[in-house]
């Protein structure tokens, strides 16, 4: 965790009963090496780090992230269910992940199509319902749909994670209008996930009212991932601080044409 910024401001947020200071979550996919990934996680200050579950491979012992990540102070490993194509597989993945991590968090991610990687709303809902019953704190990755967000909240998800745009696309907050509705109506934290390309987009998401953001591709694919991770961390803190400080409203001047309120001056007939 870097600068002394925001010390003294109570900026913690909660998932269930767990409080976190950092509002940047980081994914661990697509990095060129475990060393660079660990350096990026460290630079990001992230306290929630998502990982996948894969078959143990004795040929590649350094692929294992358990050791490197559990050594980082303040980091909670959040297993994700990426690879599952339906609810049953996702539930199994979640159970495996919890057994290994020992923590109740699961990032529920079910994308049956390997090209666009869009989340399956129906399987996600079914899996979430099951996992909440099993005592998980479910963080469901979902299309930016306001109704689905309320349904997931209703069945007990700890947060909702609507996508900004397709995973890896770098298209930013394409779903902005929907995100605004989701944020306005949500009683659980809204964590934008997927599609963010630049720190300014992360800042914007925070200004809009997101509780936190999750970034993976934009950091992993940067020329200098640890530096990019630090930049995202600053941007997330900036966006949050700006929102708390009360942004100045946009203002043009509205000029009416013909008066609509003449009726107020009419005499009663």
């Amino acid at each position: 965790m870097n600068s002394g910024m925001s010390k003294g401001i109570n900026s913690a947020w909660k998932l269930g009963n767990h409080a976190f200071e950092s509002r940047l979550l980081i994914g661990t996919g697509k990095f060129s090496s475990v060393e660079i990934m660990v350096a990026a996680v460290r630079a990001s200050g992230a306290q929630l780090v998502t990982v996948a579950l894969r078959r143990f491979n004795r040929e590649r012992p350094s692929d294992d992230l358990y050791g490197p990540l559990s050594g980082l102070p303040g980091v909670t490993i959040v297993p994700n269910t990426s690879g599952a194509r339906n609810a049953e597989e996702a539930v199994r993945a979640a159970l495996l992940g919890r057994e290994l991590s020992g923590s109740p968090f699961v990032k529920l991610e079910i994308h049956p199509n390997p090209h666009h990687l869009m989340p399956d709303p129906i399987e996600t809902f079914e899996a979430a319902r099951e996992l909440v019953k099993e005592g998980f704190l479910v963080l469901p990755y979902m299309p930016a749909d306001p109704v689905l967000a309320k349904r997931l909240e209703e069945i007990g998800c700890a947060a909702v994670m609507p996508l900004g745009s397709a995973i890896g696309s770098g298209h930013g907050l394409r779903t902005r209008e929907m995100l605004e509705i989701i944020i306005r109506d949500s009683n659980v934290p809204v964590i934008v996930d997927a599609g963010l390309r630049s720190p300014s987009e992360a800042s914007l998401a925070m200004e809009m009212g997101c509780e936190a953001v999750l970034v993976n591709s934009a950091i992993a694919a940067a020329d200098n991932p640890p530096a990019m991770a630090a930049a995202f961390a600053m941007a997330v803190r900036a966006g949050y601080a700006a929102r708390e400080a009360g942004l100045m409203s946009k203002s043009d001047n509205a000029v009416p044409t013909s008066p609509l309120t003449a009726f107020l001056k009419e005499e009663t007939p």
Partner: protein, 66 residues
Amino acid sequence: MRLTVNGEPHNHTGDKTIEALLKEIGADPRRVVVMINGDVVCREARASVRLEDGDIVEVLAFAGGG
């Protein structure tokens, strides 16, 4: 004992415990989770589980992924 471990046939020569199997395949018990025939084996139960001929075993670890 013939097992399937992580999708591959595996001839298990040690005793029938999970600990023996993990040692055989070079996995650190603290860093993996084990599933037998589709059921997750929790840590506390590992000591009491006995492998059987034909079991399908999955040994998983955390890896990079968003």
